[in-house]
């Protein structure tokens, strides 16, 4: 007879534990269509909410007439700025964004009024019937002009040494532009608000950080935080788009006003206007190197367009500044990053978070230097590569493994694929458009390296909470894990169960719904949830195990709650940018091979190989998914994804014209995953979701340059850039 339910000592390789790839708890439902996304939520007597949005990027609001809308049969409420119960503004870092616009609007699509009606169609009709009297003003859309005028959310310099004292053998100066990328999550912003008998409200919403939502919602509703209860709803992608609030306060206001459940769900056009985007960037870079290609100095002026409201621009600026030269050693640096205030759509979090824009620029610069010096792109990177013991330009020591030179060397064992004799349309640029059968096709190869910080930086009190209860169910020990961590598709739920199995040696793990009845887990962003909530679940399990050694599970459940914190970080110095601002650094290297139809300017990425150091592999399948997905988003930015702006207006707020890669555009990927553990992190892990998003873009553009010989300083690269027409 086996020992009766003894704690494992020490934790061992458990079936379905850390290091394995158990089936996701939501896998079956997602495959057979039964999964309940936020857009599928419903309740008895439910009303539909809808938002009235400003069509103008910048306007004064002279009046809002709701009478016609209210007169429509089936309309239950029409609310304006005056109806916002308490605080009128909210925001992730700064509360500067109006819940509903009062005197004016500052970007196209800014919410002005709300309606609730018996059905969606009536709600839409009512929204169209709300008459807003606008005095249209000329929008301020030029971020560089905003910087000149000092209209910025943040300016962050970095200064070390003195670039002007160096004596470079070669200097390359270029200006780079990154267009406005969108997270384009397939699930639109959706949720359900249900008024509770005690005067509070229950929200079900697909979000990235339940407690940050709570902190912003409750003050606007004028409710105590415990009167607002938020539960995570089924999410259809996030990528940063769900860090800022969307439907939350609006549907809660409508529910509280009408006393009925209210559902809101954006349509696709609204979704594009209703969430923040990746900051477009204009970047002037100057790199000086010696004759061997060793970097002597880097100067950079980087303007990020923050748009109308602060969102997370402050933190994006800090990332862009601290990561401005990438994973290279350099002693003389003068970097300035500005986050401009304009009447363009607000920009904020998107996978890569300030690291993507600069990575495109500094990697393009490394290639330009290599070109000038006649050395290979791999060699120039190797000569300048950071390693454990190097310093970032912020003065922060890289104290964990950072084997970039080794990573670059690994490509020699993975040769570029040969050109197949028989190629299907799907393998060629233009795809099924049948534009080439080989005519005009030239091949190119390029490399890209990205350096990304993991977890929240600059002194932020970043923590996560986990509650773990071990209990006998039908004579078997079952672990109940409760956190508020948002499962955004990355597989975090699976990982929580894996950790509980490993730490407690149990087979069965029950995951409680993520909600605000447990402490904050922090955001599912910054590649931090494995580290932070993984760390919290591990700590809580360890505590339970400890208690378990002292008593018999048959005497009752054992429970522990733990908060997990990473090491402390410091703000960047406002003048020099110096400071240990980051928790952990992660590296990814891509090689891209492209076939370019040089006559039509169409690109097919035929190979994308990634080498990434993840410290420790916790779940191989989920990890590969993250690298594939991050690479695909990088590919999208390289060759197709851009919200095209015209004087503050988005011209392509639909999937007809905002193109994202399909399976046909993504080549099968080869991955070489390294495990150089970070001793400071739980299980030695290193955050993995973002780094591939950085390096894929410059690798692909470098490959296109290799094929075409064109300078290509702007992403996405459009066909007309490659054929030389306007």
């Amino acid at each position: 007879m086996p020992e009766p339910h003894k704690p494992p000592t020490p934790p061992q390789r458990a079936a379905g534990g850390v290091g394995t790839s158990p089936v996701r708890p939501d896998a079956t439902a997602k495959v057979n269509g039964a999964f309940e996304y936020a857009s599928d939520l419903r309740a008895d007597r439910m009303l539909w909410g809808h938002t009235v949005r400003s069509p103008h990027p910048r306007a004064r609001i002279l009046g809002v007439d709701t009478a016609a809308a209210e007169a429509i049969p089936g309309v239950a409420a029409v609310l304006t700025h005056a109806d916002v119960p308490a605080a009128k503004h909210y925001g992730l870092i700064e509360s500067d964004q109006p819940v509903l616009a009062a005197d004016g609007t500052h970007y196209q699509g800014e919410p002005v009024a709300l309606v609730a009606a018996e059905d969606l169609e009536t709600a839409r009709l009512a929204a169209e019937s709300v008459k807003v009297d606008y005095e249209v003003l000329e929008p301020r859309c030029d971020p560089r002009r905003a910087v000149e005028l000092g209209e910025v959310f943040r300016h962050q310099p970095v200064r070390i040494g003195d670039p002007d004292l160096t004596e470079p053998a070669v200097v390359v100066t270029r200006e780079y532009v990154v267009g406005m990328q969108d997270q384009a999550p397939l699930g639109p912003e959706s949720g359900l608000a249900v008024p509770s008998p005690d005067g509070g409200v229950e929200l079900r919403v697909a979000t990235q950080w339940l407690h940050s939502d709570l902190d912003q919602i409750a003050p606007c509703l004028g409710l105590e935080p415990d009167m607002v209860r938020i539960t995570m709803a089924g999410i259809g992608g996030a990528f940063g788009a769900r860090e800022d609030l969307s439907v939350q306060i609006h549907m809660a206001m409508l529910a509280l006003k009408t006393g009925r459940p209210v559902k809101m769900m954006y349509d696709r056009a609204e979704s594009f206007l209703g969430h923040v985007h990746r900051h477009p960037a204009r970047m002037r870079y100057e790199h000086g190197a010696d004759a061997e290609g060793r970097l002597l100095y880097v100067k950079a002026e980087i303007v990020l367009d923050g748009g109308a409201y602060a969102s997370t621009t402050d933190a994006v600026v800090a990332n862009a500044a601290s990561l401005a030269v990438g994973p290279y050693e350099v002693e003389h640096v003068a970097v300035d990053v500005w986050g401009a205030i304009t009447d363009n759509p607000p920009c904020g979090a998107m996978r890569g978070f300030g690291g993507v824009q600069t990575c495109f620029a500094y990697e393009s610069q490394m290639d330009a230097l290599a070109d000038e010096l006649g050395i290979s792109p791999v060699e120039i990177r190797r000569r300048n590569a950071v390693s454990q013991g190097s310093k970032l330009i912020t003065g922060q020591l890289i104290d964990a493994p950072a084997p970039l030179a080794d990573m670059l060397g690994r490509f020699t064992a993975m040769p570029v694929p040969a050109i197949a004799a028989e190629r299907d349309a799907a393998d060629l640029p233009g795809g099924f458009g049948n534009t080439t059968r080989g005519e005009g096709v030239v091949r190119g190869v390029g490399y890209g390296v990205g350096l990304k910080n993991i977890c929240y930086s600059e002194g932020f009190d970043d923590y996560s909470t986990a509650r773990v209860r071990l209990e006998l169910v039908d004579g078997e020990p079952v672990a109940f894990v409760h956190t508020a961590a948002a499962e955004v598709g990355q597989g975090h739920q699976t990982l929580q169960a894996q950790i509980a199995r490993t730490e407690l040696g149990v087979e069965r793990v029950e995951l409680l719904p993520a909600d605000t009845s447990v402490g904050s887990a922090g955001s599912s962003s910054a590649s931090r949830q494995s580290y932070m909530t993984g760390g919290a679940v591990k700590a809580a399990c360890e505590a339970v195990r400890e208690l378990w050694t002292e008593r018999d599970l048959a005497d009752g459940p054992i429970e522990a709650v733990r908060e997990f914190r990473h090491r402390e970080t410091k703000p960047m110095d406002p003048v020099t940018g110096q400071g240990d601002s980051h928790v952990q650094m992660a590296l990814c290297v891509h090689r891209a091979t492209v076939d370019v139809d040089v006559e039509l300017g169409l690109v097919k990425v035929v190979e994308l190989t990634a080498v990434q150091d993840v410290g420790t592999i916790l779940n191989p399948v989920a990890l590969e998914g993250q690298i594939h997905g991050g690479s695909a988003q990088g590919l999208g930015l390289a060759v197709m994804e851009e919200l095209v702006m015209d004087e503050g207006r988005v011209r392509n707020a639909s999937f007809t014209d905002y193109l994202i890669p399909t399976i046909l555009d993504m080549p099968p990927m080869r991955l070489d995953i390294l495990e150089n553990a970070d001793p400071a992190a739980p299980y030695g892990l290193r955050g993995a979701g973002e780094p591939p998003t950085l390096s894929a873009t410059p690798a692909i553009v470098a490959a296109i340059r290799d094929a075409t010989g064109l300078p290509l300083t702007r992403v996405p690269v459009r066909p007309e850039h490659l054929v030389g027409t306007p």
């Binding site: 056009a269 049948n434 060759v639 399909t662 007309e720 027409t725 306007p726």
Partner: protein, 300 residues
């Protein structure tokens, strides 16, 4: 199974019997249309429902054409194929790739498998978007559109069908019954430029149709003008039909230039006018070279 998932009342369109009609033959369909002015015919719904979802369209009533058998069938008429307006792209690809290679090639580029299963030729024509992929091969092949109303039937050449952006000769009281497409009398090509491997609205497209016996060239242009266009000047290019040898570079260049000249493109979010002209010249050259190569193979 998932009864909680989808509620047909989500969008309150077509809820009642008076708002939704499902005729079973064309006569009934056109009578229904005459009896309900403002009613919107719906075939695959891949254009109509996008309009409804974006509130560009609030039909007072809908006439579902999927029950009309005649519209769902194609037939061999000797020299031509008569394709019912409700035949989806997937059937054109599966059944007609041999006799109508140009139209089948264009059909293959439409949307995704789901769209090709539902989307129809009649819907593409009635929408009359300059970017519709069926138009260039229909123009190149000299197809005719058969139109039905309570007054009877009339036939309009594809070249006369389009009158402006998303406008055609089709009156509110009329339905498209069929499209009559001459069988290929030589090589046909279709090239569609889009900035994604599939599932993309064309930036510009080009269809070529060679009639070896008739020594005729057909050239259709998509997404590069207010309507789909025929490149008539290019169609009158002299080709060395007798010599059965390769085409001279000059001929190929000239053909490309004439096609580019025939275009009337604009700058929009999908591409610039200059790029479209450039790309059309490239596509036209490639199409002609490929078609000629195919001819040479046949001759030798």
């Amino acid at each position: 199974m998932n009864t909680q998932l989808k509620d047909p009342n989500d969008v309150s369109v077509g809820r009642t019997k008076e708002m939704f009609h499902r005729p079973t033959d064309i006569e009934e369909a056109v009578s229904c249309l005459a009896a309900h002015p403002g009613a919107v015919p719906i075939a695959g719904g891949t254009d109509v429902m996008v309009g409804v979802n974006y509130r560009r369209l609030r039909p007072a009533a809908m006439i579902d054409l999927t029950g009309v058998v005649e519209l769902r069938e194609w037939s061999d008429e000797g020299d031509a194929i008569r394709i019912g307006a409700g035949v989806p792209y997937a059937r054109i690809i599966d059944d007609l790739g041999g006799v109508l290679p140009g139209l089948a090639a264009a059909s293959r580029t439409v949307g995704s498998p789901q769209i090709r299963n539902r989307g129809t030729l009649g819907g593409n024509l009635a929408t009359a978007s300059p970017a519709g992929d069926a138009h260039p091969p229909l123009l190149a092949a000299g197809a005719k559109v058969e139109i039905a109303s309570t007054a009877g039937r009339r036939t309009v050449p594809a070249a006369d069908f389009y009158t402006g952006p998303k406008r055609s000769v089709l009156a509110e009281s009329e339905l498209i019954a069929a499209v009559i497409v001459p069988k290929a009398a030589g090589p046909q090509q279709f090239l569609k430029v889009g900035n994604r491997g599939a599932m993309v609205i064309s930036v510009c497209s080009f269809a070529l149709s060679l009639d070896v016996e008739g020594r005729a060239v057909g050239a259709g242009i998509g997404s590069a003008g207010p309507t789909p266009l025929r490149a008539t000047e290019a169609e009158s290019i002299e080709l060395p039909w007798d010599k059965s040898g390769p085409l001279g570079d000059e001929t190929v260049e000239r053909f490309g230039a004439l096609v580019a000249e025939a275009a009337r493109p604009i700058d929009d979010v999908r591409g610039t006018a200059a790029y479209r002209r450039h790309a059309l010249a490239v596509c036209a050259r490639r199409a002609l070279l490929r078609a000629w190569k195919e001819l040479l193979c046949d001759w030798n």
